[in-house]
């Protein structure tokens, strides 16, 4: 018995030693919104190059920024770009910059549960900001009814639901509200968690969706992917060109294409309320955060290799998982920016 155990142990030890000899483990942490996409990519890339293993922890964008700044992971990931203070904190600590690389796009949609209403509702920016500021409290308010002629909206109180956990989804939603409403911008602002003027808090997409589904006259916001996968009703939103757009992957990519022309060199761009006739206005990139300098050469080459693959072949996996692909212009710009990693 002992002998068999000994042989087994020895062979395990040998096997793991052999594997460890060539394997290169890269660690990352951050946003949970793109996690299904990232885990698919890391899995596929590992199949392609078995020596490279990428471990990703979806602990949230804030955690990703924190950990990459502290240097406990090789790269971070975030649904909102790092702000100037955070960039400076990284620069001060390490002596070099951190770079943003957009990976895919997502969108946030308004969802509702009004008994008796089965058609898609149209929402103007004024209606969305009014509801979330607590100024529009009834479904038959002219601001809502005006964009939905022919729909029999009840005079019931709107039950507003928002995310209670800090999230990139909230960041995108409040970023949009800040752009279309000066009052929202000055009173509440944008962030992963904000001081909500009204509403109930649900934990996670499933918490918001659950509350909206359960509560008659409920109104909330969830990720597009979540709404599609769970067949939830969601409304169209009026974009900056005046067209009501129902969110889909094409509309999100259109928003990104509209922004691509004015893409800054550091890729830190918000594409909410983007220009373009077909653009869905509550869309956003999600980013990888990669330090500009690596002391470990093989690790640097592995990360660059992965990003290069992600920008080319990797993009083909996006739509199957309901993420919108990057526009071509952005991909070309990112390939150039990869040279910045040394």
């Amino acid at each position: 018995m002992k002998r068999i155990a000994g042989i087994l142990l020895a062979s395990f030890g040998l096997a793991s030693a052999l594997l460890a000899a060539n394997a290169l483990t890269i660690t990352g942490a951050g946003a949970s919104f793109p996690y299904p996409m990232y885990s698919k990519w890391f899995d596929e890339y590992h199949k392609k190059d078995t020596n490279i293993e990428i471990n990703y922890q979806s602990i949230g964008s804030g955690g990703g920024i924190k950990q990459v700044t502290e240097g406990t992971v090789d790269f971070g990931a975030s649904d909102g770009p790092m702000n100037d203070d955070q960039l400076k904190a990284f620069q001060d600590k390490h002596g070099f910059a951190i770079l943003h690389f957009p990976t895919v796009l997502g969108a946030v949609v308004p969802t509702y549960n009004i008994p008796g209403v089965t058609t898609d509702l149209n929402f103007t920016p004024e209606a969305l900001s009014g509801i979330f500021l607590g100024k529009i409290t009834k479904w038959n308010d002219p601001a809502i009814a005006g964009a939905n002629k022919g729909v029999n909206l009840p005079g019931n109180d709107i039950v507003v639901v928002h995310r209670s956990d800090g999230s990139g989804t909230t960041y995108i939603w409040t970023d949009y509200l800040s752009k279309i409403s000066d009052e929202w911008k000055s009173k509440v602002g944008k962030g992963a968690s904000v001081n909500w003027p009204v509403g109930l808090g649900g934990k996670g997409n499933e918490g918001v969706a659950g509350l909206v589904k359960q509560t008659a006259n409920g109104f909330g916001y969830v990720e597009l992917i979540y709404a599609i996968q769970n067949k939830m009703p969601y409304g169209t939103v009026k974009n900056s060109s005046g067209a009501f757009i129902k969110a889909d992957l094409a509309g999100v990519t259109a928003a990104a294409a509209g922004a691509a022309k004015s893409m800054p060199d550091d890729f830190r761009v918000s594409i909410t309320d983007a220009p373009g006739k077909a653009a869905y206005p509550i869309s956003s990139f999600t980013w990888l955060l990669i330090p500009a300098k690596f002391s470990d050469g093989p690790k640097r080459d592995a990360i660059k290799g992965f990003v290069k693959w992600m920008l080319a072949d990797g993009q083909n996996y996006a739509e199957a998982l309901s993420y919108a692909k990057l526009p071509k212009e952005v991909v070309a710009k990112e390939v150039k920016a990869l040279d910045g990693i040394q």
Partner: protein, 329 residues
Amino acid sequence: MSTSSTTLPSADPLVGSRSFLSRLREGDEIVRLITFLFAASVVLITLLLVFELWQGSVLARHKFGFAFFATRVWDPNAGEFGALPFIFGTLVTSIVALLIAVPLGIGAAIFLAELAPARVSDTLEFFIDLLAAVPSVIYGLLGFLFVVPLMRDYIQPRLKDSLGFLPFFKGPAYGIGFLTAGLVLAIMVIPYIISVSREVLLSVPRDQREAALALGSTRWESTWKVVVPFARAGIMGSIFLALARALGETMAVTMVIGNTPAISASLFSPGYSIAAVIANEFSEATGDLYPQALIELGLVLFLLTFILNGLARIMILATSQRGSGMGNA
């Protein structure tokens, strides 16, 4: 192992006279040292916890001072943080939970310990222990999927109709809020109260009951006037164990409380608790002040638990000195 068996017969008076060296050789000193370290680690962990919370919240403590306890605003964008709505929510939900759980729990414990046949008692005890071991997220799901609709559609409208003149039962019935969170917490802590109280009641010596019965009291009189007072300290202990659990419960509360930092007399209103806001916001808290304010909330929760535990000790001491001979239960 063999060393401990050789020391077994040493329950004789010679034990003190053996030299330190021989005790060391036989393992007594080593066992003493090791078990002492285990016991000391409890104190160490507590101190480390306080130290970490204290260190981790230095910026927030300096910026807000004692105003932190009295401020009602929680605005990460403006950098304004106050603990008051969270302290309020934590206390209110815990109090509601105890108001429901204590009578039910003690009643059930009395039945199991004094009235039920042993076989029934043991079978039920098995289920109670099972309930105590269910992860809190399961209770949260139960609360969200079952208790919330029940509250919204049946209980809250009826409370409003019958007791709506009270300030506690006003406002729209969302189904979530202080009352629902308190109810779910009550369901969660009842097994603790039953389980511990039952053990304590069972450990009351037989003579006590027999003496009461011999003096001509009925079964209920002997239970209520003799057995329960005898076990008072232990029952109090079970209540405070339940309170500690309710104060710190996170997952189940956040799923049913509504997560809105509001202070309202109405139990129908959505609220927030300290543990829930920390769990919700910490992972996405960026900057310097924001995470520190959350850590300071952790410190506040620790303080709250500490104060309530202190009060519990004092109450147990006070009641056990008042005649009932069982302080060690």
